[in-house]
């Protein structure tokens, strides 16, 4: 809850590009707490923990590898024949 307040407040601070990073970090902390304690992942079997980590890893793959395309498009132009 406190963290939500912090998030909103943080958005009002001028941090330029880092704003999103801070907001996401706070969101991730909140999310981790929900997953670990509300969802009892902290107390769950190793299998469940591995399953969650795998899911996040694959989501990360989707995002990261797609971005390898979008972020590098401007780097070089294909030579025109």
């Amino acid at each position: 809850m406190v963290l939500t307040g912090v998030t909103v407040f943080a958005s009002l601070i001028e941090l330029g590009d880092w704003n999103i990073v801070l907001a996401l970090v706070i969101a991730t902390i909140k999310a981790t707490l929900v997953v670990l304690f509300f969802m009892h992942l902290y107390y769950s079997s190793k299998l469940t923990k591995v399953t969650m980590i795998a899911a996040i890893f694959f989501l990360f793959l989707l995002l990261a590898l797609s971005m390898t395309d979008y972020l590098t498009r401007g780097w070089i132009t294909n030579p025109v024949r």
């Binding site: 694959f58 590898l65 390898t68 395309d69 979008y70 590098t72 498009r73």
Partner: protein, 543 residues
């Protein structure tokens, strides 16, 4: 002999326990659900085959004279959609996996039997949506639904077909979920991971892909439908969107999807080769780990379908390298199967014939995939028949042959009857010859530049196209024959007994067909997998 036959006929099994239609439609028995799937996917296979026939007939002549180009677009789209989403993806997992996995691990049923039945109903609903769209006029976007054509310009039944695929995707997800939980939690006492049949390992790996990948294509299809309905511009360049984003999201699933198709097929081969070579499989751990490696690496290579679409060169380099890597675990498996044959005592029953076909044809298909991984080659042959030949070699020469192998191998267990071996061998020959005659010329055609998805072509390509169509006719015979003799065997086939192949594995230790609860007593496993040497010793000593 007469007493034994009588005993088999009178003993209760999962088939004769209740003959009513309701008991079939409301069944929770994984074996019955497997048969329900068998009927559905066979029907969809012949739907897809019907479209293939029309395609090959059109391509007999260079001119586009049988159907208009719009109709041709619909033909290859619907061929792809029915074959990929409604036949290949469910085939081995939903039919053979559903039937065999609980038996192989010594369980009574899957972890969530009602979810299993729901999966089948969801599949049927999806199939009905897709079939209805086909009957109402079809779809012409290609099974790949590329935007912005599918979202903004096509005037065919995109949403209906897309919905059908979306719904069928959930069937796939639930089956995968069911398998993962079952394999983790329902193995019999003593059945450690390292004693589990490789068929289970392969289905487990495929299930991981199903669970992780299918939701992404689901949301992508949903976005396409939304875009069509509300004219939003997420994928439409005229409205600021990026059509490549669609391709990224689509192929993030659709590439691993091909591993969903092939991994269970490889699992079938891993069961058949040791049985008919009477030898333990070579390198069990490597084959098991290779399955997992294929599943994981398969998620890293999707943009190799987009090399010429406009992605950045750097991204293309990354994906090309990763694509080379994913070939390695598949090669490991091929080496291991071949090594299993060395100094084995090989018999050439039909399942083994199909397995041999698989090993050869999958190798060709897989190697041509490696050619395509090279960006230079890919630029030359992309969207030509070379690519078509590549994926038909792995999908048909690989996957369908594996499916046929598995059907023949486990048919005695499923039905309690033996199929006629002579006819089956003849069929296998038709399939092998027909397949190669159909698709090998397409490698040449593609290399020479014939583009795919065109209903007309330059006259110099005609000879090879005629060969291809001739091959397709032979192949069709090879598919129709098993329909006939399998059905024939249900009534007139010889009784199979629990273990006609003298195979190793828990499923062969129960009756054929099995009782509803699979095992009268829960087995306790104390031996390693694929213990063929002991099996043969015991059998010979027993006599």
């Amino acid at each position: 002999m007469a007493t034994a036959v009588q005993a088999t006929v009178e003993r209760e099994n999962y088939l004769n326990v209740d003959y009513s239609l309701k008991s079939w439609l409301l069944t929770k028995d994984h074996k019955r659900i497997a048969l329900l799937y068998l009927i559905s996917i066979t029907a969809m296979f012949f739907v897809g085959g019907f479209f293939a026939m029309l395609i090959r007939l059109e391509l007999l002549t260079p001119a586009g004279d049988l159907v208009s180009s719009d109709t041709y677009n619909k033909l290859f789209t619907m061929h792809g959609v029915s074959m990929i989403f409604f036949f290949l993806i469910p085939s081995v997992p939903a039919v053979l996996g559903n039937f065999c996995i609980p038996l192989m691990i010594g369980a009574k049923d899957l972890a969530f039997p009602r979810l299993n039945l729901a999966s089948w109903y969801i599949y049927m609903i999806g199939a009905i949506f897709a079939l209805t769209s086909m009957l109402l006029g079809g779809v012409d976007t290609g099974w790949t639904f590329y935007t912005p054509f599918s979202t903004s310009y096509s005037n065919t039944h995109v949403i209906g077909t897309a919905l059908g695929v979306f719904i069928a995707g959930f069937s796939s997800i639930f089956t995968g979920l069911n398998f993962i939980v079952t394999i983790h939690r329902m193995r019999a006492p003593g059945m450690t991971w390292n004693r589990m049949p490789l068929f289970c390992w392969s289905n487990y790996a495929a299930s991981i892909i199903m669970v992780l990948g299918t939701p992404v294509v689901a949301i992508t299809i949903l976005l396409v439908a939304l875009e069509r309905l509300f004219h939003i511009g997420v994928f439409n360049p005229a409205l600021g969107g990026d059509p490549l984003l669609f391709q990224h999201l689509f192929w993030f699933y659709s590439h691993p999807a091909v591993y969903i198709m092939i991994l269970p097929g490889m699992g079938v081969i891993s069961e058949i080769v040791p049985c008919f070579a009477r030898k333990r499989i070579f390198g069990y751990e490597f084959v098991a780990l290779a399955s997992i490696a294929i599943a994981v690496l398969g998620f890293l290579v999707w943009a190799h379908h987009m090399f010429v679409a406009g992605i950045s060169v750097y991204a293309a380099l990354v994906f090309s390298l990763l694509t080379y890597l994913v070939a390695i675990p598949s090669a490991v498996k091929i080496f291991n199967w071949t090594a299993t044959l060395y100094k084995g005592s090989i018999t050439y029953d039909t399942p083994m014939l199909y397995a041999f076909g698989f090993i050869g044809l999958f190798t060709i298909g897989g190697l041509t995939g490696v050619f395509l991984a090279s960006i230079g080659v890919d630029v030359h042959v992309t969207d030509t028949y070379f690519v078509v030949a590549h994926f038909h070699y792995v999908m048909v020469g690989g996957m369908v042959l594996a499916y046929m192998a598995g059907l023949h191998f486990w048919w005695p267990k499923i039905t309690g009857k033996l199929y006629p071996e002579g006819w089956a061998k003849l069929s296998a020959l038709f399939v092998f010859v027909g397949f190669n005659l159909t698709f090998f010329p397409q490698f040449i055609l593609g290399y020479m530049g014939m583009p795919r998805r065109y209903h007309a072509y330059p006259p110099e390509f005609q000879v090879l196209n005629v060969l291809s169509t001739a091959g397709a006719s032979v192949l069709a015979v090879g598919y129709v024959l098993p329909m006939i003799y399998f059905v024939w065997s249900l009534r007139y086939g010889k009784d199979a007994g629990p273990n006609p192949w003298n195979a190793v594995g828990l499923e062969w230790m129960t009756a054929s067909p099995p009782p509803t609860q699979n095992f009268d007593v829960t087995p306790v496993v104390t031996w390693e997998a694929y213990d063929y040497e002991h099996q043969d010793e015991e059998v010979s000593v027993g006599h």
